[in-house]
């Protein structure tokens, strides 16, 4: 399916964080198409092409997933994604302000590809996003989506 354009799905309930992330990505010329879901439900809507994203084509090459979100938190979203054979293979990076051991462990247990803590320092944040973006959205070959 359509993964030639490497889309990045950002799932984060904080618009400010989203804005910072996008700024960091564009700062580093990672000009992929970026989709934003504001919570867990919207993220699944996008994947299953329903609700807000009914007609939104395409699938993400990588998902940047926050943990602390209302309704469904990031861990639960991850569980959903990994349980669906269609989306099982999509790389998921937990990008969260939580440094909690249990979040880390749980994420990996459920099959997250990576876990990045949002640094307080913005420069570091920029750096992290740059590395992430370059790796996952450019260097890395995403898996195919089986529909």
């Amino acid at each position: 399916m359509e993964t030639e354009v490497k889309r990045i799905l950002i799932v984060d309930d904080s618009p400010k964080d989203v804005e910072l992330t996008i700024a960091a990505l564009s700062e580093n010329n990672i000009a992929n198409e970026i989709i934003v879901a504001e919570d867990g439900e919207e993220a699944l809507d996008y994947l299953y092409k329903r609700g807000k994203f009914l007609n939104e084509p395409g699938y993400p090459a990588v998902i940047l997933l926050d943990i602390k979100m209302p309704k469904m938190n990031g861990i639960e979203v991850l569980k959903h994604i990994r349980n669906d054979s269609k989306f099982k293979l999509i790389p998921v990076i937990m990008v969260t302000s939580s440094r909690e051991e249990r979040d880390l462990v749980e994420s990996y247990k459920l099959g997250a590809n990576s876990y990045v803590v949002k640094p307080v320092d913005f420069t570091q944040f920029m750096e992290a996003i740059k590395i992430l973006g370059q790796y996952w959205a450019i260097v890395n070959h995403p898996p195919p989506i089986n529909l």
């Binding site: 302000s97 939580s98 440094r99 949002k118 320092d121």
Partner: protein
């Protein structure tokens, strides 16, 4: 006259001369012949063999004697070699050569060999004969037969020998005569001996007969003796047994005597003892009487309840204290059964216990309920002993002493109740504590997440502002923005520190044995960068092993060493000493620096949270490092403390007990 005629006349003259000469010669010849005939007869008459030999050694002429002695006829002899007829031809040649040489030879011995073999010993006398001119014509040799002379010589020698032999023989004969005389004498003697021997043999034979007789007698005697000996042996055996018996008897007698002796001694001793005992007894009796009086008064006045009962469990003694706890008097209870003392509820149990004590002499300690006439019950710690007769066989009475533990029992009950209460409360508190911890955890979690987000935003957008809009800002504006950015960073650090601090307190100790040396060396490695850029000497002394949570203790070392480095960084040369020792059951460690030190006046603030003893502009820091150290060490049931002098450095100590386990 002619020549012929002259010659003839000469011849005739010559003839006549010749005839005259001839006649003369014939006369001479006749004379010569007559002479030679005479000579010849002499020669032939000689008995000695005569011979003439020419210069070549050949025989010219021989006489009859020569023919006889050689056995060879004349015609065969003449012309042959002279030496052929000798046993030693060479010697013969030598002989006639000697004659030619010397002119003569005398008594030359040779031996002539007859043709038939007979030998003749001769002595030759020979000489040369010459013609009238003096020329040697040959040798004339005469042999003298000395055979007989030789024989005579030999015979003489033999006779001498024989004479000598005869002398010897006569000497031997003389000796033989002597010997024979001797032998005859010996034989006489021998005969005498023989005669004596015969007598002796007769005697011997007689002796032997006698000996036989004696032998017979002896054998009879021996038989008799053997018989006697057997009898003697029998008697000896009997005697031996009898003696042994006697010895035993004697021993027994001695034993009896000894025993008797000892018995007597013993008896004497016993008697003296008895007298002593009697004395003692009377003293003892007196003593006893006094003691009894004393005891009676003791028992009476004792604060502990004392009771005596007899074999039938009837009370025989009852002291004042007992009166008090029962509300009965001695007079009332005397002769009554023990049962009256016990509350109805427990009387059977108590009596059973008391009966048990009768079995042995042991002291029994038991709790008994004693009833007061007012209805209350006292709890008495009952302690009894049997009083036995002096032979230890008969029970006279039993005495019991009590200990009023009623109060104590009540106290114990209360304590038990309190303990239960306490435990209950501990459980409740623990539960509360755990809940509180959980709350705190949730709180920390929220804080860590929720507080960070706005910080990130502040920092992030400020940085974007600085990046993207710096041209619209003046220096002062930029400076303000930077301050805002730094501040939000700082706040992030504070939040982190707080979170760590709180987490430390809540975490559980995972205790293991810690190789401190290795831990410290690893920690020092992490500071490698900072150390490289400075002149720092690190002295690591002995570091004993400790026990505790590896991660937490690691943090302690990091914090202390980090501080040591930080507060000594103004020195040209920093010296940091790290060491430890075991004391009792604890491992005590220290980190010492020669840096800026602190004022001991504020020492008690050292380990407080966010507490600092230096200005932030001098030494950056939150004031959480030591607070963490303290928290961790206390969690390990240890202690932290420090010593310092301003500008001379500081030493931070911490102790970790070895046997802590949580």
């Amino acid at each position: 006259m002619n020549n012929k005629d002259i010659t003839s006349e000469k011849q005739a003259a010559e003839l006549d001369i010749a005839n005259i000469e001839l006649a003369l010669q014939n006369e001479e010849i006749e004379e010569l012949e007559a002479n030679s005939q005479y000579a010849r007869s002499l020669i032939e008459a000689s008995l000695d063999p005569l011979v003439t030999i020419n210069a070549a050694g050949k025989i010219l002429d021989v006489n009859e004697a020569s023919i006889n002695v050689t056995g060879v006829p004349r015609e065969k002899l003449i012309g042959t070699d002279f030496s052929d007829y000798f046993t030693e031809p060479k010697k013969a040649q030598e002989g006639y050569l000697q004659v030619f040489e010397k002119g003569f030879v005398a008594d030359f011995p040779l031996t002539i060999k007859h043709k038939k073999g007979k030998l003749t010993d001769v002595l030759y006398n020979a000489s040369v004969y010459k013609d009238d001119k003096g020329n040697v014509l040959g040798v004339f040799a005469a042999a003298r037969d000395v055979t007989e002379q030789k024989w005579a010589k030999d015979l003489r020698i033999a006779n001498k020998e024989l004479a000598f032999q005869n002398e010897e023989k006569e000497k031997r004969a003389a000796e033989l005569v002597i010997a024979n005389k001797e032998l005859a004498f010996q034989n006489e003697e021998k005969e005498k001996r023989a005669a004596e021997l015969v007598i002796a043999n007769e005697e011997l034979a007689f002796q032997n007969r006698e000996k036989e007789k004696r032998a017979d007698e002896l054998s009879i005697a021996n038989k008799e003796l053997a018989f006697q000996n057997k009898e003697k042996e029998k008697r000896a055996e009997e005697l031996f047994i009898a003696n042994q018996e006697l010895v035993i008897q004697n021993r027994e007698k001695e034993k009896r005597a000894d025993e008797l002796f000892f018995a007597n001694k013993e008896l004497a001793f016993q008697n003296s003892e008895k007298e002593k005992r009697a004395e003692e007894l009377s003293l003892a009796n007196e003593e006893r009487r006094k003691t009894n009086e004393y005891l009676e008064s003791l028992i009476d006045s004792a604060s502990a309840p004392i009771i005596v009962w007899d074999r039938n469990y009837k009370i025989t003694r009852f002291n004042q204290a007992f009166e008090n706890i029962t509300g009965r008097t001695e007079k009332e209870v005397m002769g009554e059964s023990l049962e009256i003392l016990f509350p109805p509820a427990s009387v059977d149990n108590s009596m059973d216990l008391i009966k048990e004590t009768l079995e042995g002499e042991q002291l029994e300690v038991d709790e008994m309920n004693i009833a007061h006439i007012d209805g209350s019950v006292r709890i008495i710690l009952w302690n009894s002993a049997n009083i036995m007769s002096s032979d230890g066989k008969t029970l006279i009475a039993t005495i019991a002493q009590g200990n009023d533990i009623t109060q104590r029992k009540q106290g114990e009950e209360e304590i038990t109740k309190m303990n239960i209460n306490l435990e209950q409360r501990v459980i409740e508190r623990t539960f509360q504590l755990e809940s509180a911890n959980k709350e705190l955890e949730a709180f920390s979690y929220s804080v860590s997440h929720d507080l960070r987000a706005p910080l990130r935003h502040i920092g992030g957008f400020v940085d974007l502002l600085i990046k993207n809009n710096s041209d619209q800002l003046n220096d002062s504006g930029l400076r303000y923005l930077n301050i805002i950015s730094e501040s939000s960073s700082e706040m992030g650090n504070l939040i982190d520190a707080l979170l760590t601090f709180s987490r430390l307190g809540r975490s559980e100790l995972q205790g293991t044995k810690i190789n401190t040396k290795i831990m410290v060396s690893h920690v020092l490695k992490t500071f490698a960068n900072e150390l490289a850029g400075r002149n720092v000497e690190i002295k690591t002394a002995d570091l004993p092993d400790s026990w505790g949570d590896e991660n937490l203790l690691n943090q302690v070392w990091i914090n202390l060493i980090s501080n040591a480095l930080k507060y000594s960084r103004n020195l040209d040369k920093a010296i940091i000493e790290i060491g430890g020792k075991m004391e009792d059951d604890k491992a005590i460690f220290y980190v010492k620096d020669n840096g800026v030190g602190f004022d001991m006046k504020y020492a008690d603030k050292l380990f407080g949270v966010f507490q600092r003893l230096h200005k932030a502009k001098d030494f950056e820091g939150i004031g959480i490092g030591l607070a963490n150290v303290n928290r961790i060490v206390i969690k390990h049931s240890g202690n932290c403390w420090a010593e310092s002098e301003i500008d001379k450095g500081a030493t931070f100590f911490f102790s970790i007990p070895m046997n802590n386990s949580q």
